[in-house]
Symmetry: C2
Subunit: 382 residues, 2 copies
Amino acid sequence: MRDVFIIGVGQTPVGEHWDLGLRELGASAIDAALKDAGVESVDALYVGNMLSGSVNGQENLATLLADAAGLLPAEAFKIEAACASGGAAVRAAALAVAAGAHDVAVAVGIEKMTDGLASTVSAGLATASDQDYEASHGFSFVALSALMMRRYMHEHGRSREEFAPFAVNAHQNAVGNENAMFREPISTEDFGRSPIVASPIGVLDAAPVCDGAAAVVVCSRERLGADHEAVRIAASAAATDTIALGPRGDILTLESARHSAQRCFAATGFKPEQMDLFEAHDAFTIITALSLEACGFAPRGEALRMAENGCIASGGCIPLSTAGGLKARGHPVGASGTYQIVEASLQLRGRAGANQLAKAGRALTQSVGGHGSIAVSHILEA
Amino acid sequence: MRDVFIIGVGQTPVGEHWDLGLRELGASAIDAALKDAGVESVDALYVGNMLSGSVNGQENLATLLADAAGLLPAEAFKIEAACASGGAAVRAAALAVAAGAHDVAVAVGIEKMTDGLASTVSAGLATASDQDYEASHGFSFVALSALMMRRYMHEHGRSREEFAPFAVNAHQNAVGNENAMFREPISTEDFGRSPIVASPIGVLDAAPVCDGAAAVVVCSRERLGADHEAVRIAASAAATDTIALGPRGDILTLESARHSAQRCFAATGFKPEQMDLFEAHDAFTIITALSLEACGFAPRGEALRMAENGCIASGGCIPLSTAGGLKARGHPVGASGTYQIVEASLQLRGRAGANQLAKAGRALTQSVGGHGSIAVSHILEA
């Protein structure tokens, strides 16, 4: 496989973009990434998105964005992998360059959720679960996550309040990220008081519905320029698990997250403790905990203790989602995986502004879809 | 790039599968392709599909099918490129193997359209056009195609009846295909009498709404076995054009089809006249005509004359859609591009049964989406 490098990143602020459609949001992120990379055109565009068909009435989205961003007649496909779509799009771009089919490609993750009624968006998100055996029986996405959290609390003897450090840390990190949706710090008390959405999940356990787009330009070694602040994609892997929770032997092990992270560690020879940051899929605090355990950062049942000890803070042993994560930067579902890679790239380039870590040489990013039924992991290296 | 070979194909009959869901249809085609290839597992699954989110209420479809087909924890993504999704999924699988990321991968194209109300399916298909500037103003997919056909008739001085040979040929070819939806031959008179859907397009110009799944197993040269009846993917390319018809300089040139075919011809050194068959995207007779012209099989405005002369029949100069095409085999939209590659592979292996061509050494397949806004072409070689 040819080596693949990230040479440009771009993003829109995450929030409620009532004045922008899919084409404006997408083109804005793509334009920013191309400008950052110093390239005017690319050979291909891969779009990570989940809900454009059901919420926005727009499929053929990759062509729409290729058109809007002035990239015609470049190859353009949409990649859908539920909430992991943004990570999958970057992987598709990396594979196309690794194959030698293209020299420069751009991946954009995009979601515009505020266009839809709340019921439409909730129904759309539930299509990441099993329609026949879960969604059609009334399970929302948050309800399924609540089952996992309840089981975790039961099995490990934890209270819902003990999940607070994940949300507090995410909001703290978002303060310094001008593209984040929620830049207000929250306290442990705020977390405890937050209204319940689906018991035991409260508002402050959960990432918000929002709009956003983030883009990454990748290229081959041959196309690397002297001016590029390049980040190498040291490893990339995806893995799956059962789409429904019911058939899993153990709903507290995210097998897809474990497999995809292990493949990245095996491909590079790195171990979890050699990562300087972890962009985790913190859609719900329970998913953050399970991701830390699945990737080998914490033993089973120990993620909450790790968070309590400050290990996930920016000065800690494994800084988590340093730009605010899905929880506080916001979670435009099909875009979040790309935001993670943009944010990790900025850290590795020393361009993370107020959130810059003292040491940022290697990052693990992990985009998880459908309650761990799909996960896409990347190890990036400065 | 590593060479990539097709070593197994599978398909379900195309039709109205009221008794099968997405998981049963998809797993059936995947199982058949794996059995044909003599492999029990694959490294990755790429699913071509357009409407599962809006019509079936099921995103995360690739995970669902990986689960249903017993492929966990393999990588699994859905690829959406409107009606070209099935071709795009095969290209994604080929790129992953070419890159060296995987040695054996399977692509499945799948669509289940009979689940939806007719209005839901029509609205879903219209999402392949520009929602803001076309679909939301009432343009259906067939209405946009009708504009193209009307312009063709005007510019080249043709009547709607003169498009008959494409439909007659497709139905004739479907007679020998046991997986085709419409196996009844039709006459030129039948075509002329067929009710108008959106003038000048009649029922017999148009491919039907239906269900189906087709799958292709690809592998690297290292994994080729002595028993494999392998077909080489000699070239693969995708290209885009404006999503809306309005901004095009000339709506009678399918630029995406032209670019993607030219790239395949340039990559292999072959010329159109060296192809033994052409699996064309005959969703409407006008698209067949424009595809023949875009790919260099006919000069501009000459495709109808070519069809009249019998050139597109199985004994002709460029046999067209020898298993019935989208028109008569049926057009489960996101699956059709994969069916084309399955059918061309069977011809190249000499396994096309009643439809077998005397000479079938090379084939061009072309999957077109959204009125030519996206096209995916492959050249296959025995």
